[in-house]
């Protein structure tokens, strides 16, 4: 197992290198640069700036310099915000994003899975219809529409929660819900269909034929088997949620990391694009690794082993 994890971490480094390379050259292929703007800079200043950030060096030298930076966990200075490093940008936005993201993940698991169970146990009865109706709405309506409606009803009309900011716990309710709404619905539907499929399995009949109580049959024999597809989607979902959402952050005026990412692209803030991309990629890969390790715990038929060298 330890060998397997080490091998996977090694593969992750290679993947990260490939992502860094691809992003680096794609980014430089986009016309324009960090210091090109409608308000023309004096040519001397532009040259001086380009010199300062090494943008006049040959592209391969820039690439090597950048890689050296990554290896020392130095993502470089921001080109747009003087005196701010990309490391600081991430450190600044991450806590807020992480907090809302983790809360959203908890909501997805704690609401989505039980909703799916309730629906599956009451197949074609009213609780099933109610859950599936909610879930269909949640999947069909985009998060920013849900966010706007939530804001209008709960913040503006009822005044139960603030319209923006994270000054106390009530501030988190709407952003977290807007962020997780889609995935709660998605997971509820997935858990329901997966459970219904599991109910049809022969071993469920065996469990009942042994005289096990309905609770034992459901939780010990049914749930574990039907959670495997849920865990599969949960990996990318977690990565998606804890890296934040630009749209949600804009609507609720959250100082998160998603905003930095989108702005860095329009700004051609080379180091910020690279830094945040690599950070996202690393996070996603760690999540997928965790999901793969969870599989083994859930399903003993899956064996993780190092591939032949």
């Amino acid at each position: 197992m330890a060998g397997y994890v080490l091998q996977r971490l090694g593969q992750m480094l290679l993947t990260l290198l490939a992502i860094a390379t691809l992003t680096f050259f794609l980014m430089h292929a986009i016309p324009g640069g960090p210091f090109v703007s409608e308000r023309m800079l004096a040519p001397e200043i532009a040259t001086a700036l380009n010199d300062k950030f090494g943008l006049n060096d040959p592209i391969w030298l820039q690439y090597l310099n950048y890689l050296r930076g990554i290896l020392t966990f130095d993502l470089g200075p921001s080109f747009r915000y003087p005196g701010v490093t990309v490391n600081e940008m991430i450190a600044d936005g991450l806590p807020v994003t992480l907090r809302t993201g983790v809360l959203a993940v908890i909501c997805v698991v704690a609401l989505g899975v039980p909703m799916g169970i309730v629906a599956a146990l009451n197949r074609n009865k009213w609780p099933d219809t109610a859950v599936m109706m909610l879930a269909t709405i949640g999947v069909a309506i985009p998060s920013y529409v849900i966010a706007t409606i939530l804001l209008y009803v709960f913040a503006l009309r009822l005044g139960w929660v603030p319209t923006f900011g994270l000054d106390d716990w009530r501030g988190y309710i709407l952003p977290v819900f807007a962020l997780s709404g889609f995935w709660i619905s998605f997971v509820a539907r997935l858990a329901r269909s997966s459970l219904l499929e599991t109910f049809e399995q022969d071993y469920m009949t065996t469990a009942r034929a042994k005289g096990l109580r309905p609770g034992q049959v459901l939780f010990k024999h049914g749930l574990r088997n039907s959670l495997i597809p849920v865990v599969t989607v949960l990996g990318p979902v977690v990565a998606n949620l804890i890296t934040g959402s630009f749209v949600i952050e804009q609507i609720f005026a959250l100082p998160g990391i998603g905003r930095h990412f989108v702005l860095s692209i329009t700004n051609r803030d080379y180091t910020a694009i690279m830094g945040i991309t690599i950070f996202y990629a690393a996070l996603l890969m760690v999540m997928i690794l965790i999901v793969d390790l969870l599989y083994v715990w859930l399903d003993p038929r899956i064996k993780l082993r190092k591939t032949a060298q």
């Binding site: 197949r123 049809e200 399995q201 022969d202 071993y203 009949t205 065996t206 469990a207 009942r208 034929a209 042994k210 005289g211 096990l212 109580r213 309905p214 034992q216 010990k220 024999h221 574990r224 088997n225 859930l298 399903d299 003993p300 038929r301």
Partner: protein, 342 residues
Amino acid sequence: MSRPPILSVRNLRTSFFAQRGEVQAVRGVSFDVAPGEILGIVGESGSGKSITCMSILRLLKSTGRIVDGQAIFDGQDLMELDENAMADLRGNDIGMIFQDPMTSLNPTLSVGEQVVETIIRHRRISRAEARKRAIELFELVRIPSAAQRLKSFPHEFSGGMRQRVMIAMALSCDPKLLIADEPTTALDVTIQRQILLLLKQLQNRLGMAVILITHDLGVIAEVTDRIVVMYGGMVMEQGSVTELFAHPRHPYTQGLLRSVPDLRDGEHTRLTPIAGTPPDMIQPPPGCPFAPRCVHAMKQCDIAIPPLYPMAEASDQTARCWLHHAQAPRVAGVNAPTAEVA
């Protein structure tokens, strides 16, 4: 039968309510199982034999419903018990083995745990004691190195070994009745024999009654004491294995026996299949369900369902065929020769 039966099924009716209508899978089945005997239920796919047994344990899938009938086990009607009492009985007084050992074990739990949880459910003993009992059971069904294998998962076993685990599980609480639903159908021929002989030996040793469902007449001949032949959701004929194989009194049973290869006949004998297909159970024929395929069918056969006629020459044998009516024409082979003489 001198001893009172351990299980007495009376007029059992089970239907599935599908979109197309009511599928009458079991239509008034009655039979008895004596303590310590092996009763074989034979019939082709869709004859209602498996549904009959699933109905006895009340393990039908959601669309299935027991419409009518009784199943008296140990003096109580299983159809009247509440769900809790029924769960106490399942796996404890009545064990069950299923057709496909590949899918009947939970793939995510160790085989040991699946046996242990059954024991703990029904017995007031500790987990350690239950584990000891599970090892004994594995040895009983001859799983080699039983103690180590307890930790294995189903996918680490072959089909035959998995079926042994299923048997160990079904026997874990010393049931008075074991229901085996085609326990050898999914296995290799050589393994089939091993499992069958194992079942027979265990039955001898533990003295429980067994219902063995199968479509394999070879299996029936080898291990059972009595046979119930089912077709179209009904009992067509029943009797002791010797009587029924020597003198089948129903055209369907005769057809079944003719469709089995007999190696003594030499290699150039053709098998005689039963022409036609089983009836549609949404709209079963008003008369004998076998009449459309029966070579001896008469006008009466399409009008009314025949009763089970007791055979004069064999006290325990009954056959559901109009040919045994007093006014029916005598057909050689179906009617006993004594009846013709008389």
